[in-house]
Symmetry: C2
Subunit: 157 residues, 2 copies
C-alpha cells in the first residue's frame, strides 16, 4: 500500500477506535514528517471537557511538543474528515505544508456535527452572523501592537 | 467604568504584559460568565512551542476546565484583537454567546501576524489556496460516521 494510504488508514483507524472507546467524536488525525508519524490524535472534546481538543489540534500539539518547535513546515497532516475552520486555522498556523482528508464536512454534518454551520457563519458579514460580535476600545489595543513593534525581545512566529 | 470596559481592559492589559514578559504574541483574552472572569489567557505560542496556544484558546480551555463542561453557552469572550479563524472557530465550538474584540485583523497584519492571509485563504476555493489540500479514501472514513450514528454510547456535542 502506498505511504499516503497507510497514514490515512491510521487516521481513520484512530477515529473508529474513538467511537468504540466512547472517548469523543468520530475523528482521528496524524502528522507526518519525512515519512514518519510524529503526532497523532483523536477527538477528546467530551472526555476532557475541552471544546478545542479536536483530533487535528491534539495531533499538532503532540508533534510540536515532540519536535520542540511551533513550526511544522514540510510536514503533512492526514485527517479522517475535512478539518473544521478551527482546525484548518491551526493547520495554517502550524505551517503544515500539505493536508490530506477523507470524509467531507457534509458527511460530518449528516452525523450532526456543526462544521457546515460554522463554515456558513464564517462566510457571512459579521453583522449577519448568529453570534453577536462587537468592537470596542480599539485605540487602547493598538498601543499593544505599537509596544510589540518596538520590542527588541520579541520572537516572531 | 462599565463592566464591558473593565473586562476588555483586563484582556488588553494581559496582552501588554505578554509583550513585556516576552512570553508570546501581543494578545490577551478573558472569558466571562454572569459578570465573573472564569478564564483568562495570553498568547503562549513561542513560550510553549504550541501553535494553537492563542490567547482565546488558552482562556477557553481554562474556563471549560474550571466549569467541568465543554459548553460555554451564555458566556462572553473579550479579546484584545479580532480572533483569527482558528480562535473564531474555537469560540463557536465552545458555544460562547457574545464576542467583544478591540484591535482588528488588519491591525494584527500591520504587526506581521498572518490573520489576514489565513482569512483570505479561507475565502478561496480549495484548489486555489496556497496550502495543498487533497481528498482520499472517503468511503473508508464514512464508515466511521456510520458506526458513530449507530453507537448508543456516544456523547453528542
Amino acid at each position: 500500500m502506498e505511504d499516503r494510504k497507510v497514514f490515512m488508514k491510521e487516521a481513520i483507524t484512530l477515529a473508529l477506535s474513538n467511537v468504540k472507546n466512547s472517548h469523543g467524536g468520530p475523528f482521528g488525525a496524524v502528522v507526518v514528517k519525512e515519512g514518519v508519524v510524529i503526532g497523532s490524535g483523536t477527538n477528546q472534546v467530551t472526555a476532557s471537557n475541552d471544546p478545542t481538543a479536536h483530533a487535528e489540534i491534539v495531533a499538532i500539539r503532540e508533534a510540536t511538543t515532540k519536535l520542540g518547535t511551533f513550526d511544522l513546515t514540510g510536514c503533512e497532516i492526514y485527517a479522517s474528515c475535512e478539518p473544521c475552520p478551527m482546525c484548518l486555522g491551526a493547520i495554517y498556523w502550524a505551517k503544515i505544508t500539505k493536508l490530506y482528508y477523507a470524509a467531507t464536512k457534509d458527511d460530518a454534518a449528516k452525523a450532526d456535527f456543526d462544521d457546515s454551520y460554522i463554515y456558513k457563519e464564517f462566510a457571512l458579514p459579521k453583522n449577519e452572523r448568529t453570534m453577536v460580535s462587537l468592537q470596542m476600545m480599539r485605540d487602547d489595543a493598538v498601543k499593544v501592537f505599537e509596544a510589540w513593534n518596538k520590542s527588541d525581545q520579541k520572537v516572531p512566529y
